[in-house]
Point group: C2
Chain length 512, copies 2
Amino acid sequence: MEETLRQSLLSIVGPESFSEDPEDIVSYARDLWPRTTILARGGTYTSYSSEAILWPKDASQLSRILKLCNEHNLPFVPFGAGSGVCGGTVAIRGGLCIDTKRMNRVLWFDKERGLARVECGINGQILEETLNRNQLTLGHFPSSIYCSTLGGFLAARSAGQLSTKFGKMEDMVSSAEVVLPDGSVVEVGQERPDLLQALVGAEGTLGFFTQATLRVHPLAEERLLRGIKFTDVATGARAIREILHAGIRPAVVRLYDELDTWMALAGGKKEGEPHEKNQILEAIKQRVPQDRLMRAAFSFALQLAPKAGVVADLGPRLLGAGCLLILAFEGKKRLVQAEELAALDIAARLGGKDLGRSPGEAWLQKRYAVSYRLSKVFDAGAFADTMEIAITWNRLMPLYDAVRKALQDEAVVMAHFSHAYHEGCSIYFTFSSSAPDEASSLERYDRIWKRALDAALAVGASTSHHHGIGLLKAQHLRRELGTGGALLDALKHGFDEKQLSNPGKLGFTRTD
Amino acid sequence: MEETLRQSLLSIVGPESFSEDPEDIVSYARDLWPRTTILARGGTYTSYSSEAILWPKDASQLSRILKLCNEHNLPFVPFGAGSGVCGGTVAIRGGLCIDTKRMNRVLWFDKERGLARVECGINGQILEETLNRNQLTLGHFPSSIYCSTLGGFLAARSAGQLSTKFGKMEDMVSSAEVVLPDGSVVEVGQERPDLLQALVGAEGTLGFFTQATLRVHPLAEERLLRGIKFTDVATGARAIREILHAGIRPAVVRLYDELDTWMALAGGKKEGEPHEKNQILEAIKQRVPQDRLMRAAFSFALQLAPKAGVVADLGPRLLGAGCLLILAFEGKKRLVQAEELAALDIAARLGGKDLGRSPGEAWLQKRYAVSYRLSKVFDAGAFADTMEIAITWNRLMPLYDAVRKALQDEAVVMAHFSHAYHEGCSIYFTFSSSAPDEASSLERYDRIWKRALDAALAVGASTSHHHGIGLLKAQHLRRELGTGGALLDALKHGFDEKQLSNPGKLGFTRTD
């Protein structure tokens, strides 16, 4: 970096907020994209390094930084907490990594209008706890809540575990302060037409979120959890659809396929507390001791791939695991009781078996644990990833089948259905696989994603539901957008013709 | 128009879909913008005429028309049913008026995914009836439903009477086929980021909607209507807020201020059916015979303005009209019963008096009547208009007071609160006034709008909630958008640099 540029940057943020230290460069050179985890396991930490890390404290500093970058043709990448799993923050053209975490204050909240104004570098859990102390909630509970920021939520159109009731991040935001790629600072709300929605989900390619006004809600008076078992995933999905079309809005909707049910129920025992009578769980526990179950399941991937899928698929079916649906209702006591009864009616009509409250309560207790288990898979020499895609109800089962079929020779695949809406639902696939060495692991990893997304798009699914696009899905996003991508390009052209802002993401290509 | 251009247009749509007849030119030279009604009353029908009217039958024809317009620098204006009240379809630079009403088919509907694909020139009531015949509803009931099109709904971000449950048009649309101003045809859905929301509400300045995929719902099993009287409008508004923050979602929420309550209750008698005991209604009926009430109220505007406001304001208060809140709950029987009980609890705690079902049922029966009454005001030599603006709960009463104060020397003002959301609510003001002649009527009309919108923006309201912007509010919209307007300009620049598509609307200004 030229010395004049360095001095200009230092004069904006001060020496304590500027770093070229190799430790920082390495630390910021990847996020939780499993592909970079495979590389890091092999010792390659800096495939995508920035030249410097900056920690601006507000939109004004950020604006001056971006204007300098434009003058010097220097690319820049936004960074929140680095929990993204699609390579949304990797610096493919070097330049600056701009960490937003010093913008971390709750500026105000107001119960009357149900809004809070928050700086976008705030950690998700800290934001929620701050609101909770004031009897409020954002209603946003991604499994990454401990290691993610509001800016990341907005950048990726994040969804939390209660999205069926509270919506996704794009539904939670009412207006935002954004620093556009040319350094101009704009406040964008939901006017007519609504340009805010064109920025939410743009992953830093059209600007950085610095402040946002969010919808917040009173803490629920009552929460009712319920587990219901269906014979198969198609019937469970139908129950979800009928529940939603009846006007019922559960806070939580999670339907696990056979393998995922087997994992979920086995992991569901509360410590120090006897289980309620639960035939499925007991049946499974008699066969596989709980602690060993996770290892055993993943061992399919480690030792038996590519035929592991067949074994993993058959096992739970032979055990009669069925498919577990977890519902939660929260809000006013009278209303949630009515909702629960109405939902149970629908489930019973479709042959659902009421498992009572324990499966849901067990899930609630461990609801953030799954993300932390994945690293063990990597430690064991294998790899795992998750793919969340959405589709309309009529194509849900074809999508489920198509993706599993596409990966049948490549990975153990399990799935749950955890974000349901009026016209459709998302499927959250988890795949685990392995290969003898790093090169073949990367090859298999890339092949898995290509096959899975090709299969998904062929059935008509979206490229992503809530993890975002990043580098990983950029080309598939462009296929999904089709002719409509021109609108996105027009915005990019208007504010970042030189493609400096988070290069390569969302399929923007260099014009120079 | 040059002969070669005329021949090219004729070759695209055929002679039966092209007109330069003076009768057509006059018919399409205005919509229901009251300002043009004042002009028409004085004999001026063609302040804003087009050179020709075209009726394309699909996106392909429309695309070819727009490409020709671009070649010839000819402006063009989209036209649905002409029910807009802000001059959104007036042709300030001549050119072509493009009527979309031949694109009027329901292409498909699907109960499983709760979606329907519809051509955007379809009439609102015909669309709803088509869905109803198949046990479905769009849930969109604007008072213009008989004389409006889906394209108009999308262009203006229309809201219907059940918007608190079903949302506004921007919530109802899942994807759309749009012909951009340069003639390119794009399908835009709610991908990431979401550019569809940047087109919904753009009033034809960024493209024409030709087809849309809409969310549709099963017809409700039960509908419960309830009237509740509050002592004043602030308490009624507080009840609405608390109801929504409790997670209750009424289909209808309508709170009338004192004058509007007086009008609403007086108009509320069902023909041939005795009223339930209703003290307020009876009190008013004893004083003013129902049929004469409307005339009497408007006579304030005709004869007493500018002091009419004071009289109209005091009258209902002296009569003790109070403020009527109408709620409706619809959906599954068990759920709506629970919602109604929970809402009544909240209302009772705030001193609301339960008036039973009759006020709501009376409203339902006459719910589209009000729009048709307005023309009588013009026949009588006066004028009236409505202004719908939204604001957060904390500023609702200041907005109500500010607008009334701004107009106190100009018009009789009444208001109701009919679209309520998590963070705020809209206010629907009706103002009636008069002036001795056309010139002074126009002057007063313009002054009323400037004062009202200036007052609204000063308090922090939106420029429009669901009528749109048109010519009427273009400058105020730009003030509301502030720095964020640059994003809109970038899209315009990308596809309509020459400002041919619906010139002058949304505050786009010519660059040539």
